[in-house]
């Protein structure tokens, strides 16, 4: 007997959901192509080494062996294959790329999560100014306006803030990593234990408030009043605030700052950002600057900014306006194929009626409140059922 169940963590998509997803992807691709983004499609399979820099956060990859017994994986990320592509081709930079594709991560068994996810994204490679970050943030804003009734909140962070701050607190790398680890996962009882030894130092007031250092720009500035930050951390903070203030100028765009969160990936080197909608338990957008990534593929470092969009989640929550259905059924006999061919070409709203006889076709059209046309002996169209939906 054939096994008919799907493997855990996978699902088939069909009907309305598949249609919504296709529509979103098409619209997104169209708008990016118009703005001169170059489409990139990389293979689903890559050598494992491509993802050496990728933090899977308790998840695993699907792995298999190629014919030379080398481990290949189903890609768990879409940025690293693009970095690999750029180091192995002569694509001229700077360049704006976009992609849409599936990635694979094995979630905890029986957790109800999918292991195959669709992501779209943009990568702006060769651009060193903050304008590249703003291009990503403006795209978030457009998606928010178009499909989410302006409900997306943008969260701005900086990948270097924690390291530059901790450098002034201690030179003990193990301790730095411990503090950062507990801060990022907000395991507060453990975090408090880790910072206790700095109780009598000038850094302690900051260390104590650090896990709560997120919120609106004004709130964060107020919380940091009177606190002297080391030069590098101050510069990361200033850049974060600067970007957040720019974003606030975009009409209908809410923004917060988070100085206590982990960068989405280890390879980020500057401003990072995420986007979420209230009462939705996952981030919808995530990205940031990764200026050193190409270097890890033995190429010249290139300034770059990228952002991923969770297409599955967007499909679930996007509010898509229903276009009015204007289709009409066209009843034909096989011998009238030449007329049918001409009519279908002339009008995209004609859908062939595949019913066996005119009576059944009429019944179906009435039931669906859709018009029915038939081709007469002269090859002309005759109205059989009026469209009653409008």
């Amino acid at each position: 007997m054939h096994k008919i169940n799907l493997p855990l963590g996978t699902r088939a998509e069909f009907g309305e959901r598949a249609g919504r997803k296709q529509l979103l992807v098409n619209e997104l691709q169209k708008s990016l192509q118009k703005r001169n983004f170059m489409k990139v499609d990389t293979p689903l399979l890559e050598y494992q080494e491509v993802f050496a820099n990728f933090d899977l956060k308790q998840m695993r990859t699907y792995q298999l062996l190629d014919k030379n017994n080398k481990t290949v994986v189903l890609r768990p990320d879409l940025t690293l294959p693009i970095a690999r592509l750029l180091t192995t081709t002569n694509i001229k930079l700077p360049q704006k790329f976009y992609y849409v594709g599936d990635l694979f991560k094995i979630a905890k068994e029986l957790s109800g999560r999918n292991n195959q996810m669709t992501q779209a994204g943009i990568e702006l490679v060769g651009y060193s100014s903050l304008k590249a970050e703003l291009e990503c943030l403006l795209l978030i804003n457009r998606i928010s306006q178009k499909w989410l009734r302006n409900r997306v909140k943008i969260e701005i962070s900086h990948a270097c803030f924690a390291d530059s701050l901790l450098a002034s607190v201690t030179s003990n790398n193990e301790l730095k990593n411990k503090i950062k680890h507990e801060l990022y996962r907000k395991k507060i009882p453990e975090y408090q234990k880790a910072i206790k030894q700095f109780e009598n130092t000038e850094n302690y007031p900051f260390l104590q408030m650090w896990p709560r250092l997120f919120g609106e720009v004004g709130d964060i500035t107020k919380m940091l009043e009177g606190i002297e930050l080391p030069a590098l951390a101050r510069s990361s903070l200033q850049e974060t605030i600067k970007v957040a203030k720019w974003v606030l100028k975009i009409p209908n765009q809410k923004v917060i700052i988070d100085l206590s969160t982990a960068p989405p990936q280890r390879y980020y080197t500057g401003i990072t950002f995420k986007g979420f909608v209230d009462n939705i338990p996952e981030y919808l957008f995530s990205g940031g600057r990764y200026d050193q990534l190409l270097e890890s593929f033995q190429a010249q470092p290139e300034p770059a900014v990228g952002m991923g969009i969770d297409i599955d989640l967007l499909t679930e929550i996007a509010e898509i306006k229903n276009e009015k259905e204007e289709k009409e059924y066209l009843f034909f006999e096989p011998s009238q194929i030449e007329y049918a061919a001409k009519l279908l070409l002339q009008n995209v709203n004609y859908e062939l009626s595949l019913e066996d006889n005119l009576e059944t076709a009429k019944e179906k059209a009435r039931l669906e409140k859709v018009g029915l046309l038939k081709i007469n002996k002269q090859g002309e169209i005759e109205n059989v059922v009026e469209n009653s939906s409008y």
């Binding site: 009882p189 709560r212 979420f276």
Partner: protein, 218 residues
Amino acid sequence: MSLKIALTKGRVEKKVIPLLEQTGIDCTPLKNKKRKLIIRTDDDKFEFILAKGPDVTTYLNAGVVDIGIVGSDILDEQQNDQYELLDLEVGKCQFVLASTADFDVNSPERKIIGTKYPIITKKYFESLGQDVEIVKIEGSVELAPLIGLADAIVDITETGTTLKENNLYVFDYLDKVSTRLVVNRMSLKQHSAEVFNLVDNLKDAVSEKNKVQGEKIK
């Protein structure tokens, strides 16, 4: 908007209700819940969902509740990655390695260990540099060495009475366990003021309780 809190039913629920009351939350509907599993406070500020410990983390991960109140044993075993904001310092107990008197933790053969907590057990024996075979047991773990299913067990104990009554001895003490308040990552972003308000009030309630207990001991 009310904060949704998944509360571990049973022992944790009983120990946490006095702390919640101390913060000013009227827990009368929670105490008079009968067979109801979803209980709203009269002021609509909180909605409590009573669940088994391991399900509390499932609810949190799925984002269907904002806060979970659950033992650190379950959080460690489930490798929780949501935010653990407060130790409520109730439901205190400890993981132990226990067995019959003739057990030798340093004997060279590959041991069989019975436990409800395979991940914690694996981590513990890895730290000793030992590879062991783990047998997952759902309840009455103490039975395992007595009936010859395992050489020893890793389990939690509060007073050690059940172990003693079954002629089992503690060979090592592992991590301490207590009840924790855990928050879904996105909920903390979306309802930070309400969550921090509850956390701060509960923190004060825990300190007050410890102070009163300290004075009683004096």
